[in-house]
Symmetry: C2
Subunit: 200 residues, 2 copies
């Protein structure tokens, strides 16, 4: 049948392109979509097109936004002296869900990765430098992941951009995840948790 | 941020409705979609709408089709004396991928399930009766799943519809899946495989 219902085949192929979705999952999604009323399917299609049309990068922090300046950057209640530097808009989402952080963000849209030919110019550092030179920012929190690329990017930004400008640099703490047993922690994490131990 | 980029939130919500997709997966898909060029996103949206507009049920076998009569039913090379009765269009897809079966299909679009209040009238049995009364079909293969509902539906169709019309009734064989070790087979399967053993 696969060769004989072209619109179904096309729909399955589209779902297969999604990250983490194989052929069976794509089939399941396509049949689910066909089982919905037409209006629901239309809503889905519109959500895709509208997201693309309406969303751009905030001209200040490079986070995704529907406005020229995103709601975080234009919120006068946020602490404008602290900037949290993250890899992607998803990280901003995670921090905002926690709701603890009241400062601003800067989204790099990538990490420095010489092996993948991604240098400092390929991520949003120009925009960061511009903000720093405006002089409002006093502390930068390096919140890239605890991976090789995350560490390398953090070190680069700290040494080449932040410290020469006299900005206070901090980094997220790394160690045993809350709620986790020691037996599940890998050696690197355990080692780091021991090294970074705090007085109790 | 979740509350501040409405089109992104809407897109994530749409992906979350897909079967087997949670919040994290939906976020990943939404960001993937935004990372694509606009044309690719447009293609995705169009595939959804077009599938809905173009696909209907074949007037003979109830399988999904873009034509009034599906390509299997209108293919003169297929054996018109045998009909394979399945639960859903997905099952037709599985059989056609194997490519071994040369007869016709009948898609029930569901199984009889008294607990879920799905009786014989709620699945495509009227259409099956009509085909049988045309007199071309000599053998019906009951290819519903080896679940309670699959068995109940097979028994109902065999006793109430097929046997009274003198049609030969067969059922898919059940047993150990090919390539599987005995230790992974559950007791019911092992029991069935023993009962249905064949001369070697």
């Amino acid at each position: 049948m696969s060769s004989t219902v072209p619109s179904l085949v096309k729909l399955i192929e589209q779902f297969e392109k999604l990250p983490g979705i194989g052929r069976k999952g794509a089939q399941r999604m396509a049949f689910f979509m066909l089982s919905q009323p037409f209006e629901k399917a239309q809503d889905f299609a519109n959500a895709i097109v509208n997201a693309h049309k309406n969303i751009r990068r905030c001209s200040v922090c490079c986070n995704l936004s529907e406005e020229e300046v995103c709601p975080v950057c234009s919120n006068v209640m946020r602490d404008r002296s602290t900037v949290c530097i993250v890899e992607s808009p998803r990280d901003v989402m995670s921090f905002e869900r926690v709701g603890e952080y009241r400062g601003l963000y800067h989204v790099l849209h990538g990490l420095i990765s010489p092996l993948d030919n991604i240098g400092p110019d390929a991520i949003c550092l120009k925009e960061l430098v511009k903000r720093l030179d405006d002089g409002e920012i006093k502390e930068a929190i390096l919140a890239t992941g605890a991976t090789t690329e995350g560490e390398a990017t953090a070190i680069y930004i700290a040494n080449k951009i932040l410290k020469p400008r006299g900005i206070k640099v901090t980094r997220l703490s790394y160690g045993i995840p809350i709620g986790s047993n020691l037996e599940y922690a890998d050696e690197m994490t355990l080692c780091r948790a021991l090294k970074d131990r705090n007085e109790f």
